[in-house]
Homo-oligomer: 742 residues x 2
């Protein structure tokens, strides 16, 4: 018997009046058979759970048709297609003027039109899924529409201007990376942008103070050095123009022009060095630390709030899924039976193994009642996010085919040998020796031949391991280190083998595992960087393209000595052979911007107007002061969490359950080559080994973030009373993080 | 009636036996008159309180003679003398070969002997103060003795070798900065060194991983670029020697040789740039953040523990002072009367004003009982560390001399005008205009004359303020901004006036106040840096002196083009005019080391053996990876505390008390020029204004640290049972932070 969540509440409300109470109880009896025949909407519940699992916050209609459209909308193929077209759209910069590989304008325009069409189709699809008024309220949809329209307008203007031979600027290209931020899947990126926006006011105050300090030091420098008649290395006047000084001292903060900017003064008197020492202490060390402190502090504060909202939204969705599936059973409140739960999990995660599903159920239904309440049900989204690998380990195939040979004592000896710790050490040593050989001169024939010997040894290692361990376990999906080993043989970068040595030291593994865990979020920062770099690259290309030219090594052009620009004659820029650091195409722009991130290297303001320096200072502020600091703040926070936070409650439950199961079936096997990574449990029953490997960690970035702030969240806090309107479940207001775009 | 702490406990112990009970009660009655005549040892109590206030942890004998010696030992004149001689000893490097100002060997030897004699006398004094066995157990005493002996030995060897014309090295100079660490007053510095030592193991693991990564990338670079036949900008072979590559890539982490190290590969193919991008991402950004995370994490962990011990030691000392002064009064436990308390405070802080002392007493004796218990007494050390400025503000002297004129309506109008907010704004504007004039060309006679006009305006401002405000209040000790204003007129760095503009914006003030508060601790880091720099400078001078020579601008020496070293012919080092960056004397060594801290700039390994690079890598590890990161960690923590921690309990009590007093006397005056800095309370009573200014903050670094971790400390936690032996108070084991030296 099913009581869909909405209906029961409706009855309760009606019952408030006595007259209606009688009427409705009659009515209730009348429709009960109908209700019980009507199956719960598993599709809807599965969508809620899946949304909760991946932290999607989309207000879809709950009609079966809309749900089907919504499922299609979230299909991984469509999402990949969208990203592929975004990448194609961004990559157009490679082919558009100034191009790496020039294509005619009609070709690039055609590709861009196709991309825009795809984005439009995707947006229309989205509009079909969610209620109309929601669609127009969401700024990210508006943003995409505006980007598409502006791109079309720009293409028209550019095409007609070019056709008539006028000068034209493709200004709409700056908007392209904003698509990455505003597509439905760009949640992480939007969150990163929000945390930047939230930190801005605080950063601004420190920045103003910092600029004040730079301006004041510049004034002092002008007074101190302006009339000394010192000359720079190029023979120019030293520190006698205020704006020049401001720029030089700003660059000194980035340490890019240290000690050059100081040398003329220092050469004239030792005491002048004191000025620069104080400047560096205050502006480079103290102010940059204060920037980090401010950014870090804000990052932590707002992230906490966002994750809290995220977790609340997730719980709401799970409560709604519960509302769809709940039944009333005996004395207890509404519950979900194991049968519905199983059907739901199979819908949400079709590739889940039975063993894994049963493990998750036994964690949820701790007391073996065959049904679970709301609190236990809500955990499902988190449980599904936990990485449990179930490996059915069977006896080795050779054991079945040639039992007498495989179980003979020499064969057993080999197996014992391979499983031994010394076997691992021996091959670690071989890898180290190989590394030394790689470093040695390859011209020597002995060394070249030694490489073949090493290859043979590695092959032997793999064969021996395949002989000892069950192949499917050996090649199992998550055996990263083993897979990589196979790759070694064909791998170009043979030195990667050395990673294995590090991997065998436990202390290092802890650090490396943390680094791997923060990897996905580094990808988010990567996107952030791409967005900012792309915008700056587009502007930079319009401003600086063709100002500096690069000549091949074979070129004998006389202009080669000054990068094709007479203004650079005898400049250090040309002498250092920096000509390839230019904005002549999108690839070299990106590399130049990376160099600017590492060290402010802006020699070629010489070739344009002085005001071009604003471009570089702006880039430094956005990338180095803000984004890099947020990145450092994230790494700091992730490491602190790794150092300090214990396993979450849910993790411990899962771990305990695995242990219990293990204890229940008595036999317990640990493979020597696979123990360090997590907890391994192999359960032998009915002739086949069921081995569950449990990774103490979350698969997604959101999981890590949630873990960071879990201590502050009450597991029983559903807060449904404020936000959940049972009479109109399709109109629920999830307390979403506000999805305004940049 | 006084019951010294020790005695009461003794009686209690004796009373355990019935027989003794009767005897002692008789005895008690017998000696009571004697006890009550014996005055409590106020000197001893004052020493305890003073030790608690300044966190001194010295186990002095409690005999009156030892106390007198101890008071002498702690006298500020003696401490200044010791530091003066340490500075003199360190400054000897300026006069010793290689010298900035050469002095004959006999002169420097004589000065050093005097310094060593002073240190010996100080050590003997210390030995007289503390018990003998304690003296020999303390490693910092041993360390000083060893330094003195080794210095003598070195002077002997050096003198005799020099006299006989042999080559000699003054190796003991490396030990000199260790004196700074091991003198009694170097507590903060020792703590900083301890926090570094504690973080070392964790840093080591990350460092090994980091070096592994650098080595692996170097191997890859060797394979990728080694046989391409690329050449560097100087025409040398590019990336074909493994150790060269390791060094180049290590330097790339410091961003010093970016993009130079990448250019040859990048010029040959764009794809090679990917290698460097990945390298920079992993090693510069991720690993450097991980270093910061590890250092920060350890710093926080150990600092917390140290501060906890520090606070415990402080409370023990206060409990002992209480034990000395306590009396039994009525029903209550042992108390300290207001009379003893007053006498004690006057001894501890002779310059305290009566109003200030009464304020502190009223905070301690909240319920006006005339005596305080142990818990209230223990707060005294912290109360004395809080900055309360009591200003007795009287009517303006002119009001007394010429009341009719001063109180006339034009005069009142002037006063009201000066007190008005617009008056401040007007002069802020004048300062800004002045700043613009300073930036303009001074050759212009109009501008030169304008400067006199500005001076006149500033003078007018001061005169008006003196006319309006009572001069003593205006010049009061802590009116930093006003004092500075007077200095402005004679100040060379006239631009400092601009600080006033920043000061008038509240948001900025908060940041600046935090910066000022962390100032004293920055001094500790300054000492740390001096110790490390001095050691590296001494070693660097022995290794590299005279390798690179600097020629004056007027010099026409042909060697000037290559810094006096043929190996530098046509090198970028000489082209950049870096010749003054050398180890030829201690001053240029320090400046060079600072440049190395900012950006690794080690061009002159070219002039010595390649292994000299080890010196620079070592310096980078010690200074940049460890010390700078600890410094950043400190700034971060200090800012977080400022952002998050509320006022301490004690501060709120003090604040409340001030407010109560203010409410009690009805009138309440706020001076417009002095309100922003803290809470100001002016209490008018009996014709004179008593104005107490309360600064919400601590005066000392320890206070700030204590505030950081105050939340974890129980105010009632004295833990005397474990450590305090009432039978033998002179043998108390303070749970000290262990004072082992480096």
């Amino acid at each position: 018997m099913y009581f869909p969540f909405g209906s029961t509440y409706t009855f309760h409300y009606l019952r408030a009046s006595f007259f209606f109470d009688f009427f409705t109880s009659q009515f209730h009896d009348m429709i009960r058979p109908l209700l019980s025949q009507q199956l719960p909407d598993f599709d809807l519940a599965a969508v809620y759970v899946s949304d909760a699992q991946y932290n999607r916050n989309i207000f879809f209609d709950t009609t079966p048709e809309a749900i089907r459209l919504y499922l299609l909308y979230n299909h991984w193929v469509l999402r990949i297609v969208v990203y592929a077209f975004i990448i194609a759209d961004l990559a157009l910069a490679i082919f558009e003027d100034p191009a790496v590989i020039p294509l005619p304008i009609w070709a690039t325009t055609l590709i861009e039109l196709v991309c825009l069409a795809v984005f439009t189709v995707r947006l229309v699809h989205y509009a079909k899924v969610i209620p109309r008024e929601r669609f127009w309220k969401d700024p990210k949809n508006i943003c995409i529409i505006v980007i598409i329209l502006l791109s079309l307008v720009d293409m028209l203007i550019y095409g007609s201007l070019k056709a008539t031979g006028y000068f034209a600027v493709r200004w709409s290209r700056v908007l392209r990376p904003l698509l990455l931020v505003n597509v439905t899947e760009g949640r992480q990126l939007r969150r990163a942008f929000r945390s930047i926006r939230n930190a801005l006011p605080q950063i601004l105050y420190v920045f103003l103070l910092f600029m004040f300090s730079v301006l004041m030091f510049s004034l002092m420098a002008l007074k101190l050095f302006g009339k000394k008649g010192l000359t720079t290395n190029d023979g120019g006047a030293y520190f006698n123009d205020y704006l020049e000084i401001v720029f030089d001292l700003y660059v000194l903060v980035t340490t890019a022009n240290s000690p050059d900017v100081m040398m003329p003064a220092y050469n004239s008197s030792v005491f002048f060095a004191v000025f620069f020492i104080i400047y560096i202490l205050i502006n480079t060390y103290i102010f940059m630390s204060v920037f980090l402190a401010v950014v870090y502090n804000n990052y932590k504060k707002y992230l906490k709030e966002e994750v809290r909202q995220l977790v609340r939204a997730k719980r709401h969705k799970m409560v709604r899924a519960f509302g769809v599936l709940q039944e009333r059973k005996g004395e207890e409140g509404p519950v979900v039976t194991q049968a519905s739960w199983n059907q739901l999990v199979r819908l949400v995660q079709p590739d889940i193994s039975n063993a894994h599903r049963e493990l998750l159920w036994s964690v949820s239904d701790d007391s073996n009642k065959g049904c679970i309440g709301k609190v236990a049900f809500v955990q499902l989204a988190d449980l599904l996010n936990m990485q449990v690998i179930v490996v059915k380990s069977r006896p080795h195939p050779l054991q079945m085919w040639l039992p007498s040979l495989y179980l003979s004592s020499p064969s057993r000896l080999i197996c014992r040998m391979v499983r031994h710790r010394l076997f691992v050490y021996a091959f670690d040593l071989i890898i180290l020796v190989n590394a030394v050989f790689i470093g040695l001169d390859e011209e020597n024939p002995l060394i070249a031949n030694a490489e073949w010997a090493f290859l043979a040894l590695y092959l032997l290692e793999i064969l021996l391991k395949l002989y000892t361990f069950e192949p499917r376990a050996f090649f199992s999906k998550h055996e990263f280190w083993n897979c990589r080993q196979i790759l070694d043989i064909v791998f170009i970068l043979r030195v990667l083998r050395l990673i294995r040595v590090v991997d065998s030291i436990k202390r290092f593994r802890a650090i490396i595992n943390t680094l791997i865990k923060i990897g996905p979020t580094i990808l988010t920062f990567g996107q952030l960087i791409v967005v900012v770099y792309y915008i700056f690259a587009m502007i930079g290309m319009e401003l600086f393209k063709g100002k500096i030219r690069f000549f091949d090594a074979e070129s004998t052009d006389p202009e080669k000595a000054f990068c094709g620009n007479p203004l650079l004659k005898n400049s250090l820029f040309a002498k250092h052979n920096y000509c390839k650091n230019n904005f002549n195409n999108v690839v070299s722009s990106f590399i130049l911007l990376l160099e600017l991130t590492v060290v402010n290297q802006c020699g070629f303001t010489a070739v344009t107007h002085v005001s071009a320096r604003i471009f570089f200072v702006l880039f430094h502020i956005v990338v180095v002061i803000i984004i890099i600091n947020i990145f450092i703040a994230f790494v700091l926070e992730a490491f602190f969490v790794e150092y300090t936070v214990d396993k979450s409650n849910l993790q411990s439950c899962l771990e305990k359950k695995i242990e219990e199961l293990e204890l229940g079936v008595k036999q317990y096997v640990l493979d020597s080559f696979a123990i360090e990574d997590g907890l391994d449990f192999c359960i032998e029953s009915k002739g086949c080994n069921l081995s569950a490997r449990f990774f103490p960690g979350y698969k997604t970035v959101d999981g890590l973030l949630q873990r960071m702030f879990e201590a502050d969240l009450d597991p029983e806090d559903f807060a449904e009373d404020e936000d959940f309107d049972p009479n109109n479940p399709s109109n629920v207001t999830f307390p979403n993080p506000n999805f305004d775009s940049v």
